[in-house]
C-alpha cells in the first residue's frame, strides 16, 4: 500500500536531511502511529506520501503508483485516494459544516445528487448529524475536528493521513476522535497518524514507527509510545516484510 525505499529528503538550504534513507512498508488496513520529537521528520513523511514534496533520493510507492513518475497533472487525481486531517482542522470559516464537507466533492466534480447523499452520510459517521447548518466557529474543537475527518472520509479514501489530529484537544475529546479513527480503520481504511500523545499510543497498542533525526529507530507492532523492547538503532528496520 505504501512503500518507501531508501528515501532521503533534504530541504533546500539545509545540510541535515529531514529524512535519511528511510525504508518501510505499510500494508492495507493497518493503523500506524508515527511518533518522534518535533522536527524528527514525521510531517515530511506525510508530505512525501501526499506528493507535496519530492524525495531527494529513493523511491516511494503509494497505492501502486510510483510517485516519482506521476506527472504533476495527475497528482490531483492521485490525491483523491487520500484523506488528510490536521491539528488545526483547516476548515473554511465562511462555509457551513455541510458546505465544508461538500466542498471536497464539489471541487472534484461530483454531482449534486451524490453530494446530498454522501455528505449527510459522512456527517453521521463522525457523529455530527443535525449540525450540518452550523458554522465552524459555533462548534467545539472536537466537533471541528470531526468535521475535518468527515471531509477527509467523505470521498471514501483508501488511506487516511492524520497529522497530530488530537494535538489541540483535551484527553476526553481526543479519546472520542481516536474511537472515530479506529472505526474508520475497521472499515478498511489505512490510517497513518503522527502524534505526540503518549497516552493514546500506549492505550491502542498498534504499530508504532519512531523517527529520530530523520531515521527510523523503531518499528514495533503493538508497541507503546516509549520503547518497551530494546531500542533498535539499525536503520532500515521493518522492511523485512517488504515484498
Amino acid at each position: 500500500m505504501i512503500r518507501f525505499d531508501e528515501v532521503t529528503k533534504v530541504y533546500r538550504g539545509t545540510a541535515r536531511p529531514a529524512l535519511n534513507s528511510v525504508s518501510l512498508e505499510i500494508l492495507s488496513g493497518e493503523f500506524v502511529f508515527l511518533v518522534g520529537a518535533s522536527g524528527s521528520g514525521k510531517s515530511t513523511f506525510l508530505r512525501l506520501v501526499l506528493k507535496e514534496e519530492k524525495p531527494s533520493d529513493g523511491t516511494i510507492h503509494v497505492l501502486g503508483h510510483d510517485l516519482g513518475s506521476i506527472s504533476s497533472r495527475k497528482v490531483p487525481y492521485f490525491r483523491r485516494n487520500l484523506g488528510v486531517v490536521f491539528q488545526d482542522f483547516r476548515l473554511l470559516p465562511n462555509k457551513t459544516v455541510f458546505d465544508n464537507v461538500a466542498f471536497t466533492l464539489q471541487v472534484i466534480g461530483k454531482s449534486k445528487g451524490f453530494i446530498h447523499e454522501a455528505v449527510p452520510d459522512a456527517l453521521q459517521t463522525v457523529g455530527l448529524d443535525g449540525k450540518g447548518q452550523r458554522f465552524p466557529h459555533e462548534l467545539s474543537g472536537g466537533e471541528q475536528q470531526r468535521v475535518a475527518i468527515a471531509r477527509a472520509v467523505v470521498n471514501k479514501p483508501a488511506i487516511m493521513l492524520a497529522d497530530e489530529p488530537t494535538g489541540n484537544l483535551d484527553p476526553e475529546t481526543s479519546a472520542g476522535i481516536m474511537a472515530l479513527l479506529e472505526r474508520i480503520n475497521a472499515n478498511g481504511t489505512t490510517v497513518i497518524m503522527a502524534t505526540h500523545d503518549a497516552g493514546i499510543v500506549d492505550r491502542l497498542q498498534r504499530r508504532v514507527i519512531e523517527v529520530i533525526g530523520g531515521r527510523i529507530v523503531r518499528d514495533e507492532r503493538g508497541g507503546g509510545y516509549k520503547t518497551q523492547a530494546h531500542p533498535v538503532v539499525a536503520q532500515g528496520f521493518g522492511i523485512g516484510t517488504a515484498s
Binding site: R73, P76, R90, F103, T104, Q106, N155
Partner: protein
C-alpha cells in the same frame, strides 16, 4: 453545478478586490485605446496613400523673372524653351511613362491660388507675375518620377522638377511617427496592464489561499483551481476592452467623421466600418493578455 461554482468564485474574487479590478479596467481601457488609435492611424495612412499617391503629379516649374535657381537667370522662360520642354515630354523616351500632362500659365496658377486662399491676406499680396508657370504631369506609374527629373532638370528655362509624393511623404512621416508613438505608449501601458493583472490575480489567490490549499489537498484538478482566477482576470480586462472599443468608435464617430471630415472635406477619413473592425481586435487582445498574465500568476500557486 461546476460552472455555477466557478462563477460564484469569480464573483467573490471580483468583489473582494474591487479597487484592483477597477485599476485593471482603467489600465486596459487606456492601453487598448492607444492600440486602437494606432491601428486606425495606420488605416488612415494606407487610405490616404492610395488616394493621394494615385493623384500625385510631377510639377515641372519653369523660370520666372525672379527665379535664380536651376537653369534660370532672372529670365522668364521663353516660348521656345517652353516648346522644348513640351517636346521632351512628348518624345518617345518620356511618353511611355506619362499618362497625361497639361501646361499651367501664370494667369491660370494665379486664378487657382486666388480660389484656394480666397479671403486670406496672402491672396491680396500675390500678383500673377509672382506665380510660376508649370507643366503638370500625371505619370502612369507614380513611383517613376526620377526619369522626368533626370531628363528635364538640366533644360534651359526649367526651374525645378518636383514630385508631389516627396511632399506627401513628409506628411506620412509625421502620421507614421504619431502612430509609432501611439504603439510605443500602448506597449508600455500593456506591460503595465499585464503586471497589474498578474498582481491582482496573485492578491486574489492570496486572499483565497485557504480554499486553494484545501482544494489541492482534496485533489481538485489544477484546471479547476485556475479557471476562476483566469476568468476573473479576463472579465476585468474585457470590461476595459469594451470601454476602449467604445472610445475608439466614439473618436471616429464624433471627432474624425463629425469634425475632421467636415473641416477637411477633400480628404477621405477612416469611417465607422473601420472602427468596428478594430473593436474585435481590441476585445481579443484584452482577453488574451489577461488570460496569459493571469495564467502565469496563478501557476506559481499551483506548483506541486
Amino acid at each position: 453545478m461546476r460552472l455555477g461554482l466557478v462563477m460564484t468564485e469569480v464573483g467573490q474574487g471580483l468583489r473582494r478586490n474591487l479597487s484592483m479590478v477597477i485599476a485593471v479596467v482603467l489600465v486596459t481601457f487606456i492601453s487598448l485605446t492607444f492600440v486602437g488609435g494606432a491601428i486606425l492611424l495606420q488605416m488612415q495612412i494606407t487610405q490616404m496613400k492610395s488616394y493621394w499617391f494615385d493623384r500625385a503629379q510631377v510639377a515641372v516649374y519653369l523660370c520666372t523673372e525672379f527665379s535664380t535657381v536651376g537653369g534660370c537667370d532672372q529670365q522668364a522662360a521663353t516660348p521656345d524653351q517652353i516648346a522644348t520642354v513640351q517636346a521632351q515630354l512628348e518624345s518617345p523616351t518620356l511618353a511611355p511613362f506619362i499618362d497625361t500632362f497639361f501646361f499651367e500659365t501664370q494667369e491660370e496658377a494665379y486664378a487657382n491660388f486666388q480660389e484656394q486662399f480666397a479671403g486670406q491676406a496672402v491672396a491680396d499680396l500675390i500678383t500673377p507675375d509672382l506665380m510660376t508657370p508649370a507643366f503638370w504631369v500625371n505619370l502612369i506609374d507614380p513611383t517613376q518620377s526620377a526619369v522626368l527629373q533626370d531628363s528635364l532638370r538640366g533644360l534651359a528655362g526649367v526651374e525645378s522638377v518636383v514630385d508631389q509624393r516627396s511632399l506627401l511623404d513628409q506628411i506620412f512621416d509625421i502620421l507614421n511617427a504619431a502612430s509609432f508613438t501611439a504603439v510605443g505608449i500602448a506597449a508600455l501601458m500593456l506591460v503595465a496592464a499585464a503586471l497589474l493583472i498578474a498582481t491582482t490575480i496573485r492578491l486574489s489567490a492570496f486572499s483565497r489561499r485557504r480554499e486553494i490549499g484545501i482544494m489541492r489537498l482534496v485533489g481538485a484538478s489544477n484546471r479547476f483551481i485556475q479557471t476562476p482566477f483566469i476568468i476573473e482576470g479576463v472579465a476585468a480586462a474585457l470590461i476595459g476592452s469594451v470601454l476602449a472599443g467604445l472610445a475608439v468608435v466614439g473618436i471616429v464617430q464624433f471627432f474624425v467623421q463629425g469634425y475632421l471630415a467636415e473641416t477637411l472635406p477633400l480628404t477621405s477619413f477612416v469611417g465607422l466600418s473601420d472602427a468596428l473592425l478594430v473593436v474585435p481586435i481590441l476585445l481579443g487582445a484584452g482577453a488574451l493578455l489577461a488570460a496569459l498574465s493571469a495564467n502565469v500568476a496563478i501557476t506559481r500557486y499551483l506548483r506541486v
